[in-house]
Symmetry: C2
Subunit: 337 residues, 2 copies
């Protein structure tokens, strides 16, 4: 590894390692002249303090971990990006972990983090319902955890979410007002707080507009894209097909689009579509897709900001319950005209 250490600098300059260390950290008890000598040599030799020695000694690492269920998903990808920008601006590093929607994998990651790799953790859970024992371990080890989107239901803490129910309500209302008689709701998991809220908004819209709602219209899909698409194709093929779709996840919106193309059903003439999604090119789809976009980047930066504030300021208790809501943006386009 690095051969240039503080010890090396010290003997080059005939100083003690403690002096060099203090000089590099701009301590007040070191004279300006020695400070200058030290920093100059350090710069010349491109000295970089060993992160592990530092972390070991100070018991903090200046890094934050973020665990998401699906890194490739543009939503989570943008959250990571937002968090990273704030971390970077504050001298923190960010390590991103992917739980692949799997609680066991998530546990492994969390247990690995127990080894003091990070000072704090930002999480979106693989499953909110499951016991949160692995998360409590983090708390016990004094590693703060805050949540976004899929937040813990059995653990208190800072929780960043978006106005899922309201957004879903608005999207559904939009479809109904455009004249849809039978709108189906495509959800991934109604046990998640996000799924439950979106589902609730969907139902709420029907109630407020006095529209009947067939329970069969609340569809729970799986994580397998191919299967989802086939199920939808079959449904669209029937004469009893719906004339509106509210997709509560990007992958479901895309599956619906593909199924509609396959069955040659016209959007929006025969079926109108609105989808939750963070894709950048909804306007380029065929036809342009009406979207409900979660404030991904902002959510990531808000999480990181609040977390770093909490790490700096001992008065902030990151383990107390606090909910922060950042609104989503509904953009109607051709697909629901």
């Amino acid at each position: 590894m690095s051969e240039i250490t503080i010890k090396y600098l010290a003997q080059k300059l005939n100083l003690a390692t403690s002096t060099v260390s203090r000089a590099l950290n701009d301590s007040h008890e070191i004279s300006e002249t020695t400070k200058r000598k030290v920093t100059e040599l350090a710069k010349a030799l491109n000295f970089q303090p060993n992160a592990y020695a530092k972390g070991l000694r100070q018991q903090k690492t200046k890094t934050i971990g973020i665990i998401v269920p699906d890194r490739v998903n543009p939503f989570f990808n943008l959250v990571i990006e937002g968090a990273e920008s704030i971390c970077r601006a504050n001298g923190y590093s960010l390590i991103a972990y992917n739980s692949y929607e799997d609680v066991e994998q998530e546990k492994k990651i969390v247990y690995g983090l127990l080894g003091g790799k990070v000072d704090a953790v930002i999480m979106s859970l693989a499953d909110e319902e499951k016991e949160a024992q692995h998360l409590e371990w983090l708390r016990e080890r004094n590693i703060p955890v805050i949540f976004f989107d899929r937040v813990a239901q059995h653990l208190e803490g800072f929780k960043f979410t978006t106005n899922d129910q309201e957004s879903s309500y608005l999207g559904t209302k939009h479809l109904l007002e455009k004249g849809c008689k039978k709108v189906i709701y495509l959800g991934l998991s109604h046990t998640s707080s996000v799924g439950a809220a979106r589902r609730e908004g969907f139902i709420q819209a029907h109630q407020e507009l006095g529209k009947a709602l067939d329970p069969a219209c609340l569809m729970e899909m799986g994580h397998n894209d191919k299967e989802n698409q086939e199920i939808l194709e079959k449904m669209f093929f029937k004469l009893t097909r719906p004339d509106g779709v509210l997709a509560a996840a990007e992958k479901l919106g895309l599956a619906a689009y593909r199924a509609l193309i396959k069955t040659r059903i016209k959007v929006p003439d025969q079926v109108r579509v609105v989808s939750f999604t963070n894709m950048q090119m909804a306007d380029l789809l065929n036809p342009p897709l009406s979207t409900i976009a979660q404030p991904a980047f902002d959510m990531g930066s808000a999480c990181a900001l609040e977390l770093i504030k909490g790490l700096k300021d001992k008065k902030v208790d990151l383990s107390e319950e606090k909910r922060i809501i950042i609104p989503s943006v509904f953009t109607p386009r051709e697909s629901s005209r």
Copy 2:
């Protein structure tokens, strides 16, 4: 941080820390009975060895760093994903850094890495032309570096690329054979090896098919999406507009699509389009986009695999020049019919 240490386990069991350490590492010089006792207690208390103490002592961290110019870009995102999957399977962690297409930022990241944060680095450069002094620092500190896509031109090493020239050649030939009279090439930087190769393939196709090529058709675009789109809109508005577009980057393909929609020019009737891209939904665009997809995931996993092999096997010299080519996939769709 973590209060549960080896020392703590040792005194609980009336053993020396060395014994505990050896037991946990499954050393042959520890009896099965003590091993069992130790591992059981460790599991019960959920002991995790301190990563920083371990890293400091062993002078290796079991983590790999990856630096990309634009993490949000699906190509790089997928590369990271591919690399991560291999790392995870081999007990390595992966830390992803974003240089934001900025050499200075890249240098900062690299210098930060000098502090022994990682055992090795996978990189795609912000600028291949610039001096590679910061990369040589890594080599001097015995931190192997390998490259993908945008590889170093002034430094030897393992370099993973795709068949850029051939792919570009095929895409261009396809456009010309479909009857295009005037195809424009949209590139980001002809000084990069990737840009140069794609440009070369474009020219090669014209030569082999005996088509004249106006130098003005080789267009160098910038990184600003809005500006690019405006330039293209102006061009498409003229009567001398091209009837074919080969976009050498996803963002350029999208800019072209947006410009074509804005100017109400029909694809593929008036202008045919082929774009390098890794987006997942090219088939859903309006019209479905003909793509040249780089093998992003495979490239990431190949990098990680080779790197880890090199770290394990001292006989492999990761600093010697070696080029590995993973072919791209051309998928013609409606946009170039």
